[in-house]
Amino acid sequence: MLQDIRSNIQGTMAKIIIGLIIVSFSIFGIESILFGGGSSGVAEVNGEPISPIEVQQAVNTQKRQLIAMMGDAVDPAMLDDNVLGAQALDGLIDRRLQMQSAADLDLVASEAEIGRVIAGMEQFWLDGQFSPEVYTSVLASAGFTPAFFKQSLAQDLVLNQVRSAVAGSDFATPAELALNARIASEQRDVRYLTIPLERFRQDVDVTDEQVAAWYADNEANYMTEESVELEYIELLVDDYREPIAEDVLRQEFELAKDSYQYQPENRVSHILFEQGDGESDDAFAARVAEASQSLSDGADFAQLAGELSADIGSAAAGGDLGFSSGDAFPEEMEEAIAALEVGQVSEPVTTDAGVHLILLTERRAGETASFEEMRPQLEETLQLTEARNALLRKVEDLRDLAFNAENLNGPAQDLELEVETASGVTRDQLEGLFSRPSLIAAAFSEDVLELGHNSEVIELSPEHFVALRVATHNKPELMPLDTVREQIVSAIAEKASQEAIDVEALRAVVAINAGEGVESFAVENGYEWQVEIGAKRRNVNLPQAVLERAFELQAPTADTPVVDAVSDINGDRLVLALVRVTEGELDALAPTERDLIDRQVGAEFGTLIQQEYQSGLRQRAEITVF
């Protein structure tokens, strides 16, 4: 067979094949053949895989944000990878869809623009300027590589371009402005009076029959709250702290001594000389030499710095630059500084900034922290490490034993732990250990509540674990009549009061409908009354309930107001008369009001379109989640 190939290679076919190979390599590159194929994604969006790494990265970002937002109060259940993973994947799918749509539209982000954006981000600045070192270290601490960061920036830019065109280029036409102004800035004239509930509180004599009837009719209101009596084992790291022997501490100190050493530090002042534009090299050297000479003649360094130094920042402070531990200044300076004694002035040192004369003002020798200084810190670290290990061993043992045990007593005995009890724990417990959502969820889970099993050993923090079981389940029960009699009596009285005030409100409505003025009814009966002319939808003078109702009601005819009554949050009745409705007019609006409507209309069309764009992408897409 090889013979066949060899002979065929000499034909015209061979030339064509070689040609094709060359063309394909020059177009696709060799990597497409070497590294292509084989997807191992968690989902596929129109054939493009989403890798597990992407999801993990999104989950980590989300976790960091949650922790930054909520601190220690964050419930570990919220940081569950499965929950966050599902959300993250959803977000990634949306993003991928938008990117595919942007690619179809041939949208790209240019390298130059990405560079501008990165250089403009203040997180990467040092002394008011972009610093490549800060850039890489900030990214590294956030867990990104520069390549990944640039890629996601490029995506952000492109997605923003799509949004700017889809939603951001929307508008409000003049006719729409007029139409919306007519409704949004409509004005309504309202009169209203307030009937206070206080005046209609009823002292009713409630009979036993009434109480019994009420009790029978409203059983659902008089049930006890469901609760559980719990048995639990709590494991805290502090219970596993053991004293650390003196010789162990000493040993640890000897091992780690070197890392407790303080760096030697030098404090220096300098005088900076910059060569003037027209200044010759000789004249410049002479100027430096002259200053150097007067210093060795005993001139005051600080004073001379104030007069001569071109470094305006330090000149005012006598040339003081503060401390350096050997890396704050350019290498040339640091070398010269290292060679100086305290009080000595250097020979002229040349750096990029110019020529320096340097005075060493103070030197802090590198010191080793003493054992006594380091002892509390060492002890704490060692103790905590040991205690955590001991705690984790206990937790593992408890997990093994509690899984099959009938209750917690056996495992507790075997492991020398204590079973504690908590009573009256409810589903919306707000205080104490059992207000933790993960514990409530466990206590009221089917497994624990219905089947009577031990819960898992639940991690509240790496230093705090709890296992629990339900000893008694107190189901909701009808409370005995005697314990709720008081409640029922006041409920009956409350109902009577409400009925009485409604009768009064109705009397007011009927009177006003019959032609009596709001004012005269109010004055006659001793109620407060108010008038609000030209109230708009954002009015702040009218009570909220009155304002809302006034704009829901139908418009009045010329001389008959529309009358209605509403309750406010205190239970007072507000009787309102809608007297007049005036349509809004675009031309009468203040420029700010007009702008507001303009922006609102454009933004509403934009938001709706953006949302429909996104859901359209989803509908058309082929999405597989593995």
């Binding site: 000499q10 177009i27 539209l105 700017s164 003049p174 829901e552």
Partner: protein, 230 residues
């Protein structure tokens, strides 16, 4: 099939083959290389064009954004947008730029220019694409504002079953309101509200709610004439 007996014979055969076919082979290789690299070069050129268009579009967005101090620079924005349309007329960026030109024209109540820009986009965009659907909606709204509510409704009805049914319904409500047809407007707005509510994360649309409230006036709950009297 030929058999070569000695090495010399093989070399001889190769030489003969080279004399016969050498030039053709070289030519084929060169041709392939030129085609391959030419294609790459063309692709690179295209990418570069897109990148510069993208840069210009970013400058357009910059000019239209409101800096902390005062107003957006609409004169500059118009100039950049015009340039994008002229130099990168075949790109999506040209269509985006025209959409922004239309928006700026509407803000100045220059409906004729807005209509022209939107029609330009419609001519360029693929029929049925997202951009085409969005542009058609905006064109209808501009036409309605210039008084041609009939043509506006024709355009809106044509796109009512597309991907942007909610926004189309909202616009249809507005056009009916302009015509004074409150019952049709009410139906269209209600449809828009149902479609918008399909996404629970979307905040309520305040002006849509206001218009619906205004179209659904309520009778008083406490009247004193009917059941309340009992």
């Amino acid at each position: 099939m030929e058999q070569y007996r000695t090495e010399e014979e093989q070399v001889e055969a190769l030489k003969r083959w080279w004399d016969e076919n050498g030039k053709a082979t070289i030519a084929a290789i060169l041709l392939a290389l030129v085609a391959g690299f030419g294609w790459q070069g063309w692709q690179g050129f295209q990418q570069e064009q897109l990148a510069t268009a993208s840069d210009s579009y970013q400058r357009l967005l910059q000019a239209m954004s409101t800096p902390e101090t005062g107003e957006p620079d609409t004169a500059a924005a118009r100039e950049i947008a015009g340039q994008i349309k002229k130099e990168y007329g075949g790109s999506t960026y040209a269509q985006f730029a025209a959409l922004h030109l239309a928006r700026m024209a509407v803000n100045d109540a220059d409906l004729a220019t807005a209509e022209a820009e939107l029609r330009w986009v419609l001519a360029k965009a693929d029929a049925g694409s997202d951009i085409a659907q969005i542009t058609q909606l905006r064109l209808a709204r501009v036409l309605a504002s210039s008084g041609d509510t009939t043509q506006a409704l024709t355009l809106l009805d044509a796109g009512a079953d597309g991907d942007y049914a909610g926004a189309y319904a909202m616009a249809r409500g507005d056009v009916f309101m302009m015509q004074g047809d409150e019952s049709q407007a009410r139906a269209a707005y209600s449809e828009a509200r149902v479609l918008a509510a399909a996404d629970a994360t979307l905040p309520p649309l305040a002006t849509l709610e206001q218009k619906l409230q205004s179209l659904n006036p309520q009778a008083p709950e406490m009247t004193g004439t009917t059941a309340d009297e009992g």
